[in-house]
């Protein structure tokens, strides 16, 4: 069990109702998204979301270390 901080952006933040959230987690990043999706009702399926850890893109199968900062990246719309 590790403690991670999750950052939310755009529609994920609106659904979560907060910018970030500290949570205890066991398992990989995919499991973390699915848990939080169930909690907050994220409309975006995991296939349309990317994940970043410590400010760099990460793999859904990566397991966060204790204290990690995790960001869910919904489909981008800059430009």
């Amino acid at each position: 069990m590790v403690r991670v901080t999750v950052l939310y952006f755009a529609s994920l933040r609106d659904a979560a109702g907060c910018d970030s959230q500290a949570i205890d987690h066991e398992g990989d990043l995919a499991a973390l998204y699915l848990r939080l999706q169930a909690q907050h009702g994220f409309a975006l399926p995991i296939e349309r979301v990317r994940v970043a850890m410590a400010g760099a893109f990460a793999d859904w199968r990566d397991r966060p270390r204790d204290g990690a900062e995790v960001a869910f990246i919904p489909p981008v719309s800059g430009g």
């Binding site: 950052l7 952006f9 755009a10 529609s11 609106d14 975006l44 349309r48 970043a52 400010g55 760099a56 893109f57 960001a71 990246i73 919904p74 489909p75 981008v76 719309s77 800059g78 430009g79």
Partner: protein
């Protein structure tokens, strides 16, 4: 110096362009994205961009590094706005200098396409009817 930047406020293009001047560069191509008064058939009144700044800067820089490694260009730069923007405001600027225009155009086009598809920036669009939404386009975004 960073070639990619996120700007929280309106920025001047002139010094950015001047920074790309090279005696060996005969061609300069640039692209600007401006806030349009319509999108997907709906009348828009303005928008807000937000970014995951640390990752946006890293990914933007990576795109410009890749452009410099891929195309025969002298230099390239890109700035993307965040915050509240009105119709007509400058949202994103890309500039590329090169010896010849083929490479300048190709790299400029490639950079804006990559920025739009890879950099963690999100657009929150407001409509004349009063509603608003986050845009999360499905790839390929052919807009």
């Amino acid at each position: 110096m960073a070639r990619f930047a996120i700007a929280d406020d309106a920025f001047d293009i002139a010094p950015l362009r001047a920074g790309l001047l090279r005696a060996e560069a005969g061609a300069y191509a640039s692209f600007e994205g401006w806030v349009r008064n319509h999108n997907d058939g709906r009348a828009a009144t303005g928008l807000r961009y937000e970014s995951y700044r640390v990752l946006a800067e890293a990914e933007g820089e990576r795109i410009l590094d890749e452009a410099l490694a891929t195309f025969a260009i002298a230099d390239a730069a890109c700035v993307h706005r965040t915050g509240e923007l009105a119709i007509g405001d400058l949202a994103v600027w890309v500039g590329v200098s090169a010896a010849h225009r083929d490479a300048a155009f190709a790299a400029c086009r490639w950079i804006i396409d990559e920025v739009k598809s890879r950099v963690p920036i999100w657009k929150h669009e407001r409509y004349v009817e009063g509603d608003a939404q986050w845009l999360h386009p499905r790839p390929p975004d052919s807009q």
